[in-house]
Symmetry: C2
C-alpha cells in the first residue's frame, strides 16, 4: 500500500499535467477535433480519470482558457515596473506580452483562435480576459497622459479608444508572429512599439495628425 | 395571371430583401439564436421561400458573410484615391472603414463577432476577408514607404507586421465604437490616425523609438 501511495501524485499536480496536455491538444488540433482519448494519452492517464477530474470536454476547455488567461495577464503585469517612464513601461509590457505568446503558442492559440471561435461560454471567458488586458493598458496610457500634463488633458474616451487600438494591434501581431517563421518576440514588440509610441507620445502632449481638408 | 406576374419581384431583389433581414437578425440576435421564422417574417416572405432561395440557415449565413465582406472591402477601396499623399490615403481609408462599420452595425457584428465565433466554415470565410483587407493595407504602407525612399528601405516583413497591427487596431476600435454611445465614425478614424500615423511616418523615414537598455 505504501509503495503505491508514494507513487501517487497529488491531485493538483495531476490536474496540471492533464491541462498541459489539453492546452497542447486544443491549441494544435482545435477544440472540435481534439478528443478526450488523445488528451488522456498525452497526459499519461486514463480517460475516466480525466473525466473524474475535469468533468467534461467543455469544462476542461473552460479550465484551459482560465489558466492561460491568468498566465498571460500575470506575464504582462509582471513585466511592467510601475514608476518607469511611460515609454519604458509600454516597451516592457509589449516585451512581456510577445515573449509569453511566443513561448506558449498553444496557449495563445487556445485564447486567440479556439476560445473565440466556438461560441458560448468560451467567447465570454476570453472576453473577460480581453477586458482585463484593456483595463490594464487603459491604466498605463491614462497614467502616462497625466504625467505628461497635456493641456487640454487627453479625454478618458480617447484613452479608452487608444487602449482598444493597442490591444487589437497586439493581438493581431501575436497571431501573425506565431505563424510567420523567424519573427521573434522582440521583433514583434519592436514593430508595435515603433508603430504606436510616436502617436501616443504626440497625443499625450496634445499633438496629433491634422487633417488638412476635412 | 398578368396581374399576379406584375406583382412578382425579380428573384435577385427578393433574395436581397431576405439577406437584409438575415443580416439584421444575425447581427442583433446572434447566429445561434436567430431563427429562420424570424428572418422570413422580417423579410415579409414565407419560410419555405427562404429555404427555396438560400437552402439552409448555414448557407444563408455564409451568403450574408460574403455580401457584407464584399461591401466592406469595396467601401474601403472606394474611399482611397491612389495618387494622394500617404497620410491622406490612410485617413481616407480609415474614414471609409469606420463610416461603413458605423452605418452597417449589423453587418459588422456579423463579420466581427458572429462569423468568427461559430466555427467553420464561417471562420474561414471571415478569414478570407481579413486577408483581403490586410493585403490592401500592406499595399498602401509598402507604396508609402517606397515613396519616402527610406534608407535602408523598410523590409517587407516589417510592412506585413505593420499592416497586421493597423488592421487589428481598426477591428478592435470599430467594435468598441459601435457599442460606445456617441463615438462617431470620424472620431474613431481620427483616434486611429493619430495613434498610427506618426509611427508609420517615422518608420518610412527610417526612424523609430530607440530602446535605451535592451
Amino acid at each position: 500500500m505504501s509503495a503505491v501511495k508514494s507513487k501517487r501524485m497529488p491531485r493538483a499536480v495531476r490536474e496540471q499535467q492533464m491541462m498541459d496536455a489539453a492546452v497542447r491538444t486544443f491549441g494544435q488540433r482545435g477544440y472540435r477535433a481534439a478528443s478526450m482519448d488523445e488528451i488522456a494519452e498525452l497526459a499519461g492517464v486514463s480517460k475516466p480519470l480525466v473525466y473524474l477530474y475535469l468533468n467534461s470536454k467543455e469544462e476542461l476547455f473552460t479550465a484551459c482558457i482560465r489558466r492561460e488567461s491568468k498566465a498571460l495577464v500575470e506575464a504582462v503585469q509582471a513585466a511592467v515596473e510601475p514608476g518607469m517612464p511611460a515609454d519604458r513601461q509600454l516597451w516592457a509590457g509589449l516585451r512581456g506580452f510577445f515573449t509569453h505568446t511566443a513561448e506558449n503558442p498553444d496557449g495563445w492559440a487556445v485564447l486567440h483562435q479556439q476560445a473565440s471561435s466556438h461560441g458560448e461560454p468560451f467567447v465570454s471567458e476570453v472576453g473577460a480576459l480581453r477586458e482585463e488586458i484593456v483595463a490594464f493598458v487603459t491604466g498605463l496610457i491614462g497614467a502616462a497622459a497625466r504625467e505628461a500634463h497635456s493641456d487640454p488633458a487627453l479625454p478618458d474616451r480617447d484613452v479608452a479608444g487608444l487602449a482598444q487600438a493597442l490591444v487589437g494591434a497586439a493581438e493581431a501581431l501575436a497571431g501573425w508572429a506565431n505563424v510567420t517563421p523567424g519573427v521573434s518576440a522582440k521583433e514583434a514588440a519592436s514593430t508595435l512599439m515603433n508603430f504606436s509610441w510616436a502617436g501616443l507620445e504626440n497625443l499625450m502632449h496634445g499633438r496629433g495628425w491634422q487633417s488638412r481638408e476635412d
